[in-house]
Amino acid sequence: MPSSRRSIRPLPELLVNQIAAGEVVDRPASVVKELVENALDAGATRVTVRLEQGGIELVEVSDNGAGIAAEELPLALMPHATSKIAAAEDLDRIGTLGFRGEALASIGSVARVTIRSRTEAQHEAAEIACDGGETSVPRPASGPVGTTARVRNLFFNTPARRKFLRTVPTEQARCVDAARDLALAHPAVAFVVSTDGRTALDLPPGQTPRERALAALGTELADQVIEVSADEFDDARGATLWGLAGLPAIARATNQAQHVFLNGRPIRDKTVQHAIKEAYRGLIEPGRHPTCVLMIEMSPAAVDVNVHPAKVEVRFRDPSLVHTLVLRALRRALQSADLTPTIATARPTMLGPREIGPAATLADRLRHGPWPDSGAPIDYAATREALASAENGPVDGGRGSASGWPDAASIAEPKPQTPLPAPIPASRVLQVHNSYLVTQDAEGVVIVDQHALHERVMFEQLVARVSREPLERQRLLTPSVVPATPAQIARLPELAPLLSRIGVEAEAIGPEAIGVHAFPSFLFERGVDPVDLMSDLLERSNDFAPDSEEALRDVLDMMACKAAVKAGDRMSEGELAELLTLRDEVERSSNCPHGRPTSVRLTIRELERLFKRS
């Protein structure tokens, strides 16, 4: 079809910039992010963000930073013009948030931009405008030292893009989130954000990271978070971390409330997300996501930030180092905390099982996640210096695995520091409705969900046992026949190593069934039906990598659940005593592997309040 043939030609510069803008700027929040980053890079101690109509009408960011010299203003708006790096080597050690020299040019091509700026050296400010790519000449203006960038009518000349914007409240929320994220990472800088004239954020300068986190995310989080930090082991390996981990009770439906920063830059990173998930495994229900603020610091040379136009993705030179750093720190913190939720007596459903706790109300109230109440702030400058000297050559910490991520077992797990109160003799334990055990500890009344606790205990025992050797298998007289799909049957060879670890021997018998020839002895003892377990396992196997540690834990979790005492099972005094003793022995027993709490506590204080004694 010769008529449809078009000749190749270079794109006009404006179009090039507009295409590039699509990568850097996709919504008002990206404008906020880029402009605030520029302000922070300029050394500002105060950043003011003004939004109108969710940022679609106006995003204005003013700072008191170094400013741009009048003669450099046109350059600031030129693509690939930057003051932050000069040569390729600089890419290996990026210490600023920006470095691509792309943001202002991109924004200028899709909006009406004015930049007014004044350096210390100038006695008056200068202003330049860029209207859909048309840059004016700088003209004198009046204004303080620092920069004000004003972006109006975003996407006015690219209607297709504009159509993709969401409602004003949604875009506005994203803009505020973007500013808040950067504010979290820069606690020394004052931030004021207003939306259509109303103040959305007002954060004073000179805060510690903890103060900043609480101020930005909500002071009510103070007792819903625990502090997390790296230790000498991490320092030796050239990475450090500080953060706040939300209690399991305030886990969320999405991972939006995980605020992860690398060297002051908000990032989204699979390695870190995986480590967080792993650390909370068993403490929260599957499908829920932990909340946290994590600030990771490492040598800029150890990480490539130049992989994503918006710079939210990074590439770690050694992902296992980061994984270990995050996993260990979170685990340590979670294990040393007493995670037994306190019953929120203010709620009328006080003794309603399984939804006890302040979680629901708090989580709903919080737009953002959790934070802290004590601990030393990190000194970023000092840390960076320390890291810079440790930069040359890998430091052998002696504990990380040689390749890939370390598995859970190879990470030293410190025991909880605060010993649990002494166990109560079983004669003082009450089994209620054959489902709950009521006992006491130093702080008050403890109510235990017998199934959840037993499941937790069995799970930990199974994990320990399987890490030593496969479970003992009892052979069957005739294979138990498990109905299966052809796809599940096809996966059987892949599952074989996992099955052999858990003491199951199975093979395909016919196109739609699997025969179980051997099954763990102890599951038989506990009355678990092989068909039952295998059907569940096959179903679940669609979602996991059969050779992963995660899959193993998943399956052990399933086994524990099926083998544990059920609600409604009457327990003898001996069994009660044994279970409660194990409760004290098994780590993290305050949550069953499914993440439901195994026990809740009604403190003496709460009791006094209920009986109006205080």
Partner: protein
Amino acid sequence: MKVICDRAALLAAVNMASGVVATRTPRPQLTCIKLTARKSGKSADLTLTATDGEAALRLTVAQVDVQEPGEAVIPADKLRQIVSAEEGDPTLTIETEDDACHIRGQDARFKVFGFKPSEFPSIPDFEKIFAGKDGGKTAIFTHTSDGLSTMIGRTLFATARENSRYAVNGALLKREGKKLEMVATDGRRLALARQTLAQSDKDAAPITCIVPARTLGLMQRLMDEPEVPVRVAVTDSQILVAVGTPEDGGIRAALSSNLVEGAFPPYEEVIPRDQDKKVVFDRDVLSSAVRRAALLTNEESRGVRMKFKGSERQLELSSRAPEMGEAEVNVELSSYEGADLEIGFNPTFIVDALKVVSDPNVVMELKAHNKPGVVKSGNDFVYVVMPVNLQ
């Protein structure tokens, strides 16, 4: 109704009947025992009836003096508590007044509220069924109390604890001509008991049914006098058992129960025929050795390792529980045929079988570490047990 009963005889009957009352039910009558006092000429008796809907039990106590025939329905637990607590009294007097029941001892009087006898559920008419007059195609056979009880004892322990998709909480009962078989399996071991009936008419209908484990337990308790003939009737959906015949004073105890529905696993295929290693044991020596070797096992590491050393005529039994310790026991073998073998078994499974054999010599046949073991005592008892893998 007014009746004076021998307390001990009544207590035995009440205890037994209490095993067939329902515990949680919306029909309170199912938690009761029905008392029926009869008198005809010189003979008098008191019958206790209980049912939980699944099974029904009828017991007759002859050690009574019936002053006024009649019926009463009273809660089983109260009746049992009272009869058992009145230890000092050789006799108790039971008398009804409307729906209430007065129980009197020498120095005590109890009034227990019950239910109208007409509201008590009906139970099978045992006399009619065992006389072959119920019209259905009922198969009946007679065996000794002792014989049936032994067969139950040799299989009941191997039934699965609960019905599940892979196992049956009951035993297969099979009769063909004079041959009687009972089979039970929990999927990991299988116990088969055989006996020959003394009498049997040639064209008696064959029987194949699955009897619930609980019913087997009740049957065993009914058969306390060894030589008494016991009659068993099987209908489409029920098994009925009667102790005592019309010739010697009628049915003294009777039990009926629903059968387990479904098919029993094809057990004949499971019994191996090509075992090439054969050991003869003294039952008690093996039992003691296994028990001792099992002292160092736990829930997750159940297995006891059996190492047969043919040339030395030695069996070494050992166990190991990771955080507990190890055990080793040695047994002299009087005979061993075949190659050396190491195989693991759940010790409970071995001991269970040794408990029910009467012959002091047992034969064990083996093939390979992942193939079943067979324990035999004569031709009456065959036991197939699957091994556990050894680490």
